[in-house]
């Protein structure tokens, strides 16, 4: 495979590397940049375990050709963790028992983070919709929905309850 130079911002730092543009962003992150927090589940856009933020929007990194990130901004679970921005979500996931095997968790946190950033006061239906592209085979989703609602509540710094639908 012919390599080419790819330049982008990864977790708020500039990255420049020689890589195959036809591999997936997921492969680039895990195998070349050693950021293994992003998980490979199905590898074909059906499970959401590999979700990252591309220019602020959640996408399946397994479906993004690496060449596409040229000039763009990529945020992975490592970036959110390092900056502390995912902290309320992480704590809520632990408190609500929303982590079992943990394989879907990085993708779930990214999708939930994108939701709360755009909509700090989501309804239960909006939470379900935001994580509808992330499969979880352990929890049955209830605890994850609760965790996102808890993080939202904490983010608002108030004790108002989440709206129903």
């Amino acid at each position: 495979m012919k390599k080419q130079i790819i330049r982008f911002r990864l977790n708020d730092e500039p990255v420049e590397l020689l890589a195959d543009p036809a591999q997936s962003l997921l492969h680039l992150l895990r195998e070349e940049l050693e950021l293994t927090g992003t998980k490979e589940g199905c590898g074909r856009g059906e499970c959401g375990a590999c979700t990252v933020l591309l220019d602020g929007r959640p996408v399946n990194s397994c479906l993004v050709p690496a060449g596409k990130v040229e000039g763009k901004q990529v945020i992975t679970i490592e970036g959110l963790t390092r900056s502390g921005e995912a902290r309320p979500l992480q704590e809520a996931f632990v408190a609500a028992g929303a982590v079992q095997c943990g394989f879907c968790t990085p993708g779930m946190i990214i999708s939930a983070y994108a939701l709360l950033k755009a909509n700090p006061n989501p309804t239960a239906a909006e939470i379900r919709s935001a994580i509808s592209g992330n499969l979880c085979r352990c929890t049955g989703y209830k605890q994850i929905e609760q965790a996102v609602a808890m993080a939202a509540q904490q983010g608002r710094g108030s004790s108002t309850t989440t709206k129903e639908n």
Partner: protein, 289 residues
């Protein structure tokens, strides 16, 4: 393989010319890894000519690289092309909707692609430019060569945007699909309806069903039979029966039997027409007249 991100339409066309048939346009890229990779890819998704949604008098213009998420969230489309906004909101998952584009949904040529069904219901026309700088316009349903094969040749043609008439007074539309799950699942069947009501009577009906043929399929015989009938439960039931008779369906070992698909076609047509008529009458979901 090389990957080039085109800055604008002219650069994209130039890269195709240099590729002499070996370079191919991509947009969101969500279906790329499910196919064989070509020698060179030209990424169209950042070209200003293919972005944005705008209204020009009674027309709506939607760039080919508008994502499903943008289309679903667009107030212009929710109001003026409800069926399309609704269909775009049901593609894949949030992650797929943020990446995949309307142009890609059509050129990928899957037989029950939600956005394409909505576009055909809106009577959308695609504007296409080629490497010889010739422009043409085609109805979206005429862009299908076969199952999963587009008549748009991505090695020398670029779908620029879609143009359609937006809903006028007394018009409403709706999209209904059924799948094994609410998300991340291809539909077993989908129906899109656009209606225009005058004094409670159906003056104009457009009904589109998929998957029936390679392209989303208008049902003109059913549309004609419904014209002039009152917007009522009896009419929707009749429509359901007519649609069941009109569609040719195939069974699929992955999704459902032909018999079940035919049943769904009727049920979804009833629901889509009823919802479209409610909206045409200015009522919200759940309200009845």
């Amino acid at each position: 393989m090389s990957y080039r991100i085109a800055r604008d339409l002219e650069e994209a066309l130039q890269l195709l010319r240099e590729g002499r048939g070996s370079a191919r346009i991509i947009a969101g890229g969500t279906d790329l890894f499910l196919q064989d990779l070509p020698e060179a890819l030209v990424d169209l998704s950042g070209t200003p000519e293919t972005l944005g949604i705008c209204a020009e008098e009674e027309m709506l213009i939607i760039g080919a690289c508008v994502t499903h998420a943008e289309a679903a969230a667009s107030p212009l489309l929710q109001e003026g092309a409800t069926v399309l906004a609704e269909a775009c909101g049901q593609v894949g998952s949030p992650q797929v909707r943020h990446a995949g584009t309307l142009g890609g949904n059509v050129v990928n040529a899957a037989p029950a692609a939600d956005a394409a069904v909505g576009l055909v219901a809106m009577g959308a026309r695609a504007v296409i430019v080629d490497t010889a700088d010739a422009r043409r316009q085609e109805a979206v349903e005429n862009l299908y060569a076969d199952y999963n094969r587009s008549r748009v040749d991505s090695s020398r043609e670029i779908l620029l945007h879609f143009a359609m008439r937006k809903h006028g007074p007394g018009e409403g539309s709706a999209f209904k699909r059924f799948a094994s799950r609410k998300s991340l699942s291809l539909p077993m069947f989908s129906v899109a309806a656009v209606v225009r009501l005058e004094q409670g009577l159906l003056q104009e009906v457009r009904l589109v069903a998929a998957p029936v043929k390679p392209a989303p399929t208008r049902l003109p015989q059913v549309e004609q039979r419904l014209q002039g009938l009152p917007a009522s439960g009896d009419t929707w039931r009749l429509a359901g029966e007519l649609v069941r008779e009109a569609v040719t369906v195939r069974g699929s070992t992955l999704r459902c039997t032909a018999e079940y698909r035919r049943h769904l076609a009727g049920v979804l047509a009833e629901r889509a027409l009823q919802e479209a008529a409610r909206r045409a009458a200015g009522l919200k979901a759940g309200e009845s007249k």
